[in-house]
Each structure stands twice: as structure tokens, then as C-alpha cells.
Amino acid sequence: MSVDKDTVRRIAKLARLAVPEARLEPMAGELNGIFQWVEMLGEVNVEGVPAMTSVVAQKLKWREDRVTDGNQADALMINAPGSEDHFFVVPKVHE
């Protein structure tokens, strides 16, 4: 299957990534090169093979359900590109 310009535009939208119009066509070419190469996985018979869920056999750890951290509002805000009184400031979401 082949990726075209419109497909790139659609996945860029899904990824919330602004790809300039002029880059769509070359990007489609690059992605096609990669997807044609991975097509070789199609030749392997994977019937009955379980998909890997964890590379190291391990039961997911549980911890006690209690608060272990918090009250870090100042630390959380130090890298904010826009903030006011412990709020992140963004452009208007609703008119």
C-alpha cells in the first residue's frame, strides 16, 4: 500500500503536527520508502504467535493506594511557557 500526500496530511493532523504544504509530497516519498521496506514482515507466518506484551517476564507491580507526592505547584509551573497564578495560560478554547 502506498502513502500519498493526502494521507500524510491526515496523519499529520492526527499527530497534531504542522507539516508545511511543500513538505507533504517529499514526506510521502520518504514514508513510502520505509513502508515498502517493512512490507517484508508480511512474508512471516505469525499464526498462533502471541503479540509481545512484556519483554521481561514480570508481574506488574502494585503499590499501596495512597498519595506519595503532591503540593508541587511551584515546581510544576517553572517551565510553563505561559502561566498565571498556578494556571497554564493558553489561547481561547471557546468563543
Binding site: A15, A18, I34, M40, V55, L60
Partner: protein, 493 residues
């Protein structure tokens, strides 16, 4: 001063303990070597002042008799590990001004052992690359040059700043991370040792995430013994990383003793690839002979799904990356685009301007393979392939204790030589990526020089959580190879 900086980690540790040198002296020598080596661009952030303060604190502890495992030893840290109060960029514009309010567990373990931080090393953006050329902070230059040549070469990637720093004597050792070969490949092309531990051996907490099921931190060092010392301090079980494993961390340095008599070394026949240079094959054969001469038994094994590893990786890793990198949206931290219409425009433009070309390409691949209608054909199939690749190793390890392979398909290449075709760059990881997919430990050891005078490495692959045997075999290769070469310090004249 040059003899101070060319010491191994073990030598420096012993000299500090014997009080023949102070941490301040040693750290000062590295700080000045780093300043002179700026043409290499190995560091994104130099932390000279902080390093000297940490050295003074270490000297005080030494005077009072408190000596940690790495007391007073200056290290370089890949700029993918969050360091509290010190800018951490992942070599991306999108994190260009990010100052973490917390410390990664691996680096905290190093500071708890008394180590000193010299600075943060350059890397491929978000660790995505094999040449350090995707960094938003510029390419790192390999300290090595080919015979009779002034052409700048790449230091490998993604941990290229760390590999260059270790090879150029800008630190005693460095940390790296390895998702598809990012510790072992740069170590190989700079003539140094690089160890990727078993998945779960080191905590991933505080390491900027690329592909969470593959990422693992590890040491980059001058010797195998140094790697053993570093791993002991880096590894831990950590409540902040549920995938870190609760298995005791042994004294790897002590376990280096004992030799390799009777060790079974597997040679996977599928790693003989068409078009690989003859010198790679010759070095590999030599490596097997070295081990045999020390009492190991060489057995041929088969890893039938090897050729599917790279394409599997280029589905799994971008898929995880596209999810992990969704957090960079210009809202809570990181780069924010100016002059936007609305919130969606803010996300799209911040990400479009903040991420470099390779990162964008991988986000798009990942988004595509996870999107409705394609998930089964790509992602789900790749995860099944991963099971088969891991099974190959399990079957091979029924017949042997470690595997021996080349680390890279060739020596360091020129800056810009492989940037036009992403696939050609991806092939750099052809021998290393299988190890990440199977979660196993792997190490690259410098084994010889190419025809044009550049370092080449051999890779050993071990059983899960058997780093001790892996390191012992690696030391046997190191002893036989007796690789004593170092690059000429052309940058500091």
C-alpha cells in the same frame, strides 16, 4: 595534566582512595580539557563550576573517611537524563530551555555514590539517530580521523556526545541510553566500551522517553572493568519505574575474575550479511579465535528471524515514540510557537517548529501504524515478530552462554555521508537492534582498527540479567584484542 585525564575510571578511583590525587585536581583537569575540546561539540551544557563544587564536597567526604563507590570521579551525562536544576534538552528545540525540577534515578544513584557531573552530552534529537546529526545543537565530531585524512567523521549515535567525550578523554566515563544500539554503536566507532544492560536492570525514571519498551540506560567507558564498576552504581530497583526489576545487583567487578574456560560462545550465522566489508567478517572470526584460545567453546547457532528485526523495530519504536512525544504540546513546558489562532494551532505549530525532521518522520510513521485500519497489519504483526525474535534467542541460549557478533557494519563514516536516505542510516543498527527487541544485555568492546585506521567493535550478547557472564566474556575479548589506540588530539593544538 594529560596523564590525569587519560586514566581509567578504576585507576582514578584507586588514586583518589590512596589520596595521591584529589577530586578537585582531577575534575579541574577535565573541566579544562572540555573547554579545549569545544570544536568536537560533545557537550550541550558544560557544568564546570558545579563540577568543581561537587569535587570539593567529595574531597571533604574523603577527608572524613566517607568514600562512596564512585567518590570524586568526574562523569559526563547524556542530555537525555533529567538533572535537577540543570537544563535537559534531549537535543531538541522543543526542550531547549527545559530545567527539570527532579533528578533521574540513574543519575541520583551516581551522585549518591559520590560521582561528579562535568556536564550534559550531545545526542541525536530524542535519541533518534545513529550519527548524532539530528541534534538541534549541532553535529558532534568524532575525535578519530582516518589515516592521512582531515575529514570530520560522526561519533555514532544516539549517544554520540558521550562516545566522543569518553574517546577524547573529556570524562572518566559517561552515561548513555540504548533503544536500538545507541550505546553500543557509538562506543564501537570511537574505540571504547559500551554496555546496554538487560531491560529493567536500570530505572528509566527521569530519562526522557523515546520507546519505553526498548529504552535502557547503560555505561560508556574506557574499559570493561570500568563498565562493571559503573553498572553496579547505575542499576537499582526503583518504585518510580514499575518495569525496573527486583533482582539483586551483584558486584560485577568482583565477578570479572575467573576466566572463560568452558564458556560456550554462540556464533549466529544470520549475522553474516551480504555486502558487509571483509574486514568486519575477519575481525569477527578473530574474536572467536581469541575466545577459543582462552578456553571457550565455539558453537554455531541460528537466529532465523534476524533479518526482520530492523523493520520490526521501525514499527514498534516509532509507535511508542508517537505516544510518548504527544506530551510536547507547548502548554505545560517546552517550546511554544508565537502568533497562533487557537489551541489546535498552538499544538500543531509548537510541535511542527519544535521537532526536527527525523523526529517528525518517526512521529508520522508511529501515528500511521497505530491508526485505525492499519494497527493489525503493522503494529500487531510487529509485536508478534518481536515474540519470534525473542524466541530465537531463547533457543540459541539453550546451546550457549553468550553470543559473539560484530557491533556495526563498518567504521565511523563522514559527516553528511548518510543523511539523504533514512534507510541507509537505519541499517547502522542491523547488529544491535535485535538485542533491544529481546530485552537482552549487550556490550561492544573495541577489537581492532579498520584498514583506514578507524576503530571497530565486537558485540557480545548475554542472557537476561546475566551481565556478570557477559562482562567476563567481554574482558576476555578486551585482553586478547589489547586495543591501546587513542585518537590524536588534533582539536587542542
Amino acid at each position: 595534566m594529560s596523564d590525569l585525564i587519560s586514566m581509567t575510571l578504576a585507576e582514578a578511583r584507586d588514586a583518589i582512595r590512596a589520596k595521591t590525587i584529589s577530586s578537585r585536581e582531577l575534575t579541574g583537569a577535565f573541566v579544562s580539557a572540555i573547554e579545549k575540546a569545544r570544536p568536537l561539540n560533545a557537550f550541550i551544557t558544560e557544568a564546570g563550576e558545579q563540577a568543581l563544587a561537587m569535587a570539593d564536597a567529595a574531597d571533604k567526604r574523603i577527608a572524613s573517611g566517607q568514600v562512596g563507590a564512585l567518590e570524586g570521579l568526574p562523569l559526563a551525562i547524556k542530555d537525555l537524563f533529567c538533572t535537577k536544576g540543570v537544563r535537559t534538552t534531549a537535543a531538541s528545540k522543543i526542550l531547549g530551555n527545559f530545567v527539570p525540577p527532579y533528578e533521574s534515578t540513574v543519575t541520583q544513584n551516581l551522585w549518591d555514590a559520590g560521582a561528579v557531573m562535568l556536564g550534559k552530552t550531545n545526542l541525536d534529537e530524542f535519541a533518534m539517530g545513529s550519527s548524532n546529526e539530528t541534534s538541534a545543537f549541532g553535529t558532534v565530531i568524532n575525535p578519530w580521523r582516518a589515516k592521512n585524512s582531515n575529514v570530520n567523521l560522526v561519533p555514532g549515535g544516539s549517544s554520540g556526545g558521550s562516545s566522543a567525550a569518553v574517546a577524547a578523554d573529556l570524562c572518566l566515563a559517561a552515561t548513555g541510553t540504548d533503544t536500538g544500539g545507541s550505546i553500543r554503536q557509538p562506543a564501537a566507532v570511537t574505540g571504547r566500551v559500551g554496555l546496554k544492560p538487560t531491560y529493567g536492570r536500570c530505572s528509566r525514571f527521569g530519562i526522557v522517553a523515546f520507546a519505553s519498551s526498548l529504552d535502557q540506560a547503560g555505561p560508556m567507558t574506557k574499559t570493561v572493568k570500568d563498565a562493571a564498576i559503573m553498572l553496579k552504581s547505575m542499576a537499582s530497583v526503583d518504585a518510580k519505574d514499575s518495569t525496573s526489576v527486583d533482582i539483586e545487583v551483584p558486584d560485577y567487578e568482583k565477578l570479572l575474575e575467573g576466566g572463560i574456560k568452558g564458556l560456550k560462545v554462540g556464533i549466529p550465522r544470520e549475522y553474516r550479511i551480504d555486502g558487509a566489508p571483509a574486514e568486519i567478517d575477519a575481525l569477527w572470526t578473530k574474536g572467536a579465535e581469541w575466545l577459543k584460545a582462552q578456553g571457550a567453546q565455539i558453537v554455531e547457532v541460528s537466529l532465523p528471524h534476524t533479518k526482520y528485526a530492523l523493520p520490526t523495530y521501525y514499527i514498534v519504536a516509532p509507535a511508542e515514540a508517537s505516544a510518548n512525544l504527544a506530551r510536547y504540546d507547548g502548554v505545560r513546558f517546552g517550546y511554544r510557537a508565537e502568533g497562533v489562532r487557537d489551541i489546535t494551532d498552538l499544538y500543531e505549530k509548537s510541535r511542527g517548529q519544535g521537532f526536527g525532521a527525523e523526529v517528525q518522520r518517526r512521529i508520522l510513521i508511529g501515528t500511521y501504524v497505530l491508526s485505525a485500519g492499519y494497527y493489525d497489519a503493522y503494529y500487531s504483526r510487529a509485536q508478534k515478530l518481536r515474540t519470534l525474535i525473542k524466541r530465537d534467542f531463547e533457543q540459541a541460549f539453550e546451546k550457549c552462554d553468550v553470543l559473539l557478533t560484530p557491533t556495526t557494519p563498518g567504521p565511523a563514516f563522514g559527516v553528511g555521508a548518510k543523511t539523504s536516505d533514512p534507510l541507509e542510516m537505519y541499517l547502522q543498527d542491523v547488529f544491535t537492534v535485535t538485542v533491544n527487541l529481546a530485552g537482552l544485555p549487550g556490550i561492544s568492546v573495541p577489537a581492532g582498527l579498520s584498514e583506514n585506521g578507524l576503530p571497530l567493535g565486537l558485540q557480545l550478547i548475554g542472557k537476561a540479567f546475566d551481565e556478570a557472564t557477559l562482562l567476563r566474556a567481554a574482558q576476555a575479548v578486551e585482553t586478547a584484542a589489547d586495543f591501546k589506540h587513542s585518537p590524536a588530539k588534533w582539536w587542542s593544538v
